[in-house]
Each structure stands twice: as C-alpha cells, then as structure tokens.
C-alpha cells in the first residue's frame, strides 16, 4: 500500500513536470508576443517595451524564463502582466466567486442523477426509461449557450427577475430576505446550466451500473426468496452499484477550477473561467500558466484520491 502510494506520487510529480514544460512551450512558441498586444497605444514606446521585456525576463532564453517563472510560482511571487497584482491572490478571489456555482452545481448533479438513473434502470424499457434516455441525449447535445439563452428568456419573461451577474446592482439597503432571494435567483440559472450535462451523463452511468448489478445472480436469489422489491433494489443492488461512484468523488475536483468559460461569460459571473478567458485575450501569460498548472495539479490529485478510494472501498483490490 505504502509502496503503491509513493510510486504513484512520484509518477504524478513527473507528469506534472512535463505538463508544466508543455504548457510553457505552447504559450511561448505560439506566434505573437505579449508586448505586441496593443501596438497602437502611443504609450507603448520601444523603450517601454524593452523595459517590460527586461522586467519579466522576456529577453532571456526560453529555459531560463521557464526556471524564473516556476521559481516565482512556487514562492508565490508571480504577478500578472496586466495589472501587476499577485496572480495567486487574483485566482483566489475569483475562485471564491466560482465556488458557490461549483457547490450548487455539484449538489444538483449528484442528488438528481441518482434517483433518475436508478428509476430508469428499475423500469427498464418503460416509457419513463425511454423518455429519460432521450432527454439525457438532448441535454448532452444542446449547445450550452443556446440553452442558456432559452432559460434566460424563459425566466426573465415569466418571473421578471434579473439573472445576469452575481447580484442586482444598487439594491443598497433592501431587506435581507429580498437580497437573499436576489442572490439565489442569480445563482440558480448558471448552476442549473452547469449541472445539466453532468446530470445527463451521470444518470446514464448510474443506470448502466444498476442494470449490470440487477443482472447478477445474488439479485435473482434475493428476489426468489421473496424479499420485497424495494429491499432488493435499494439494499442489495444499489449498494453494489455505488462502488464506482465513490471513486468519482475524486474526479469532480478538477471542476473546481475549470469553471465554465461560456456560462460565466453569458452571465457576467466574475469567476475563474472568465478570468482565464480575459487572461487569454490580454495574453497575460502568468495567469494562463498558473491556471493551467493549478488545474493540472487538481486533475492529478483527483485521480490519486480516486485510486486510493478504490483501494479503500473495494475489498477485492489488494496490493
């Protein structure tokens, strides 16, 4: 067990190193220079560009730049090229904005997809199963922003509540319940949008897992000895079908930083995804690279956690 953990950690660190190299190369070898972002700006004289290049080590060879960048990242000194603020602070601030979306979205996904999936597995081939199947494919296939517009039009014309942004501007000293409701309305649409794809995929997965377990012999035995169907479905079948999902808890971790670029830009939500998008537009390399690095770390930590969880919950796997 300890050997497995240490070997896997070493492997992940090596992977992380290569990810950092590859992302650095992609960014720096792409055509165009960050100093050319705004060539028409009269304040951007050649001297300023030269100073800028010196300040951020852009005049050094690539591998030296790489070392400088990751030294700064690990000592927490990386600054954004755009506004000279600490990148880690910026990310943390935006992360706190994205967090409620992530939490509500995750809760919606995990609480809705299980009942849907289990029910359609139990009623396999019935009208319920077929319609949920069709709806899941519909939800997977709909372009996110198109769906967002449909929902916005629906909510705004039907309920007359503002939904763009994190809160209504200028509410001032409105009563607390009013402010609270306002925040909830603003939170609801983007999190539903973020969750639909997840619900569709996860409920299909729950369904196929349940079907697989329901076909096992011990389920037939349980049914044959006259146990009530609820007991068979929810105790004997469900508990065994849950196994792969325990490990999926590790895999939702990367979603923490991903944030949806598209959903956040539609709703003007000042979250991670939007920050990354703005950084790409401004060629703010430190921000892009840091976001990339942090998300790679989260992916690796997530897979590590899910490996460990597998070891813990599945007694058949022993090293």
């Amino acid at each position: 067990m300890l050997a497995f953990i240490s070997r896997s950690i070493i492997q992940k660190i090596i992977t992380l190193f290569f990810v950092s190299v590859v992302s650095f190369l992609i960014i720096h070898l792409a055509p165009g220079k960050p100093s050319q972002v705004d060539p028409l700006n009269p304040k951007f004289t050649p001297e300023v560009v030269e100073r800028f290049r010196k300040e951020f080590h852009l005049d050094k060879p690539l591998h030296v730049q790489y070392l400088y960048f990751y030294r700064d990242l690990f000592t927490g000194q990386t600054v954004s090229w755009k506004d000279n603020q600490s990148v880690l602070n910026k990310i943390w601030e935006r992360f706190l904005n994205s967090l409620p979306l992530f939490i509500v979205g995750t809760i919606l996904t995990w609480t809705l997809s299980f009942p849907i999936g289990i029910r359609s597995a139990i009623f396999r081939g019935h009208i319920y199963d077929r319609s949920t199947t069709f709806f899941s494919y519909l939800m997977i296939s709909i372009p996110g922003f198109f769906f967002a517009y449909i929902l916005i039009i629906f909510v705004v014309t039907r309920f007359h509540v503002p939904v763009i942004g994190m809160e209504t501007f200028g509410l001032g000293d409105a009563p607390i319940p009013h402010v609270l409701m306002d925040r909830i309305w603003h939170l609801l649409l983007p999190s539903i949008l973020g969750a639909t794809g997840g619900i569709a995929v996860l409920s299909r997965y729950v369904r196929s897992q349940m079907l697989e377990v329901e076909g096992q012999e011990y389920i037939r035995t349980a049914k044959a000895k006259g146990l009530p169907p609820e007991l068979v479905h929810y105790k004997h079948a469900l508990r065994n079908a849950l196994l792969p999902f325990v490990t999926m808890f590790g895999l939702i971790l990367p979603g923490l930083i991903g944030g949806s670029v598209i959903i956040e830009s539609i709703f003007s939500w000042p979250g991670m995804g939007r920050m990354a998008y703005e950084a790409i537009l401004a060629r703010d390399y430190p921000v892009i690279l840091t976001v990339n690095f942090v998300s790679a770390v989260l992916v690796l930590v997530g897979t590590f956690i899910s490996d460990i969880l597998y070891l813990v919950v599945d007694p058949r796997i022993r090293l």
Binding site: T15, P143, I153, I280, I288, N292
Partner: protein, 329 residues
Amino acid sequence: MNLEKKTSQPDFQLERPMAPKSSQIKEFWLVFSNNRLAIGGMIIFILFFCSALLGLFLTSGPDPIFDPAQIRLQEKLRPPLAKANLDTLRPEEVPRMGIYFFGTDDLGRDVFARMLQGAWVSLTVGFVAVGIAILIGIFMGGIAGYFGQHYLGAVSIDTLIMRIVDIMLCFPSFFLILTVVALLPASIYNIMIVIGLTSWMGTTRFVRAEFLSLREQDFVVAARALGVNNFRIIFRHMMPNAIAPVLVSATIGIATAILTEAGLSFLGFGVPPPHATWGNILSDGKRFIFDAPWLTFIPGIAILIVVLSFNLFGEGLRDSLNPKLRQRR
C-alpha cells in the same frame, strides 16, 4: 447455438465449412434496426450529410443559386418566410424564389443560404478534426499495444505513450483549445487541427486495449508464425477487429467537435467571417435575440438536432457492435 442444432441432426456432414449463418453486417443490422432512436439518428445523419453536400454545391461558385454573402441593408432582420421587397432590390440581389426561407440577418443576408453553407463548414470541421484525432489515436494506440514491450532506453514504449496520454489528459480540454486557438492566427484549418490534436487520447486508449487483447489471440499468433510481416498483421488482421469502438468514438467525437466549434464561435474565436458556420450564425444572432429570435433559434435548433442525431447514432452503433448484447438476442 448453430453448432448444437446441426450436430443433433443425423444427416449432418462435416464436409462443408461451418460459416456463421448470417454475416456480421446482417447480425449488426438486426440489433441496430431494433433501436428506434438510433435509426432516427442515422436518418438525420444521412439527411444532414446530403444537405451539407447540396449546400456546398448550391452556395459556391461565381453565381451561386443561394448567395450567402449577398448584403441587402434595406432588407435586414426580415422574419422567416418573408417575401423579398422587389421594389427596393436590384435584380441580382433578389433571393431565389423571392422568399427568405429563414429570414435575414442584421446585414440582410439570407439566413437560409448561410445555413446551407454553414452545414458544409460545420461538417468539415467535425470530420477533419475527428479524422486527425482518430489517425493519431490509432497510430499511438497501435504502437503502444503492438510494440509495447520494446524498450527505448529505460522505459518501454507502452509506458512512454501512456504517460504522454496522461500528460495530455491533465489539460482542461476546452481551455487548452481556447488558449491555442486564441494565440494562433484565426483560420478554419487551425481550429480543425487544434481540436484534432487535443482529442486523440480516448481513441489511443481504446485501440491500445483492443490490441493488447488481440495480439495474444490465436489468429494473430498464427499469422506471426506464418511469417506475415508486422505491417500486414496490424492493418489486415488486427485493425478490422479493433475498429468498432473507434467508429463509435468517432461518431460521438464529430458531435463534440461541432459543439466545440460552436462554443469557440460564441467566444469570438470560431471560424473567421468569410465562412459561415452554424456556430457563428448563432453567436452573431445573440445580439438580436429579442428583435429577431429566429437568428438564434434556427441555428441553435439545427445544431441541437444534428449533434443529437450523431450522439444517438453513435450510441446505437455501440450497442449493436457490442458482441455481449448481440448474443443476448
């Protein structure tokens, strides 16, 4: 089961070889035709393919039948099925049959013509991107599965390739595509290539897994014992047996690529202006969503239907190509 039936008959002779009664394709069709959603998906898939080809034919050339680039500022934002106002238009500006089937956009361009042109562009983006991904995937997966045990220095080829896959999987895919597309000059080819280069990992894993199990099977061992060269073993003997999951993931991959292109267009990094794609018709239309909802809904629903049909078709393929499900019948 074929065997049991035949051996029970007394007059059974072992002279003729016992080929399976129905061919692979017949078996496949038996399962596939039972899945109504998949059939619907396939029909829409074929319709879309035909209309994209037709669209290419009708909207290109020096004097296209439906001109997607004709600007008529006096006729902007006309609703679908509106008659063209013949008094204000020069004769060469009049749309075919004098009707705007899908209305016009903010520059007075015929949305029907643009949709026709966009169908072909969206289809090419999907097919080329997935083609690139599949080629890389088969190549990498094939090498990892077949030549996996050979060592390059300290690590085996298999380890090397699978670590590359792991590294690629660490990047958040849409964000990576967005970054690269934004840094590169805007062009339709860059978008196809970037989507292709960032989505080959799944195929690699499938092909590797298939090859690992196939290379131990008797027919491959026999081929090797006969002295068939590696190239022929891989492409003639193993690949046809490994192609089913690749086909499925390609079908679904095309759907994903079309959605990705639409998402990129929405953020302003899609296929640049001379080409119309459904993604950029939709993202141009979003500014007029209350005044001209058809500019949003027509391309949106078109994307939805096409992507849905690809997904349903792909899932149907997966079910019918799955030997476990086939034998259950």
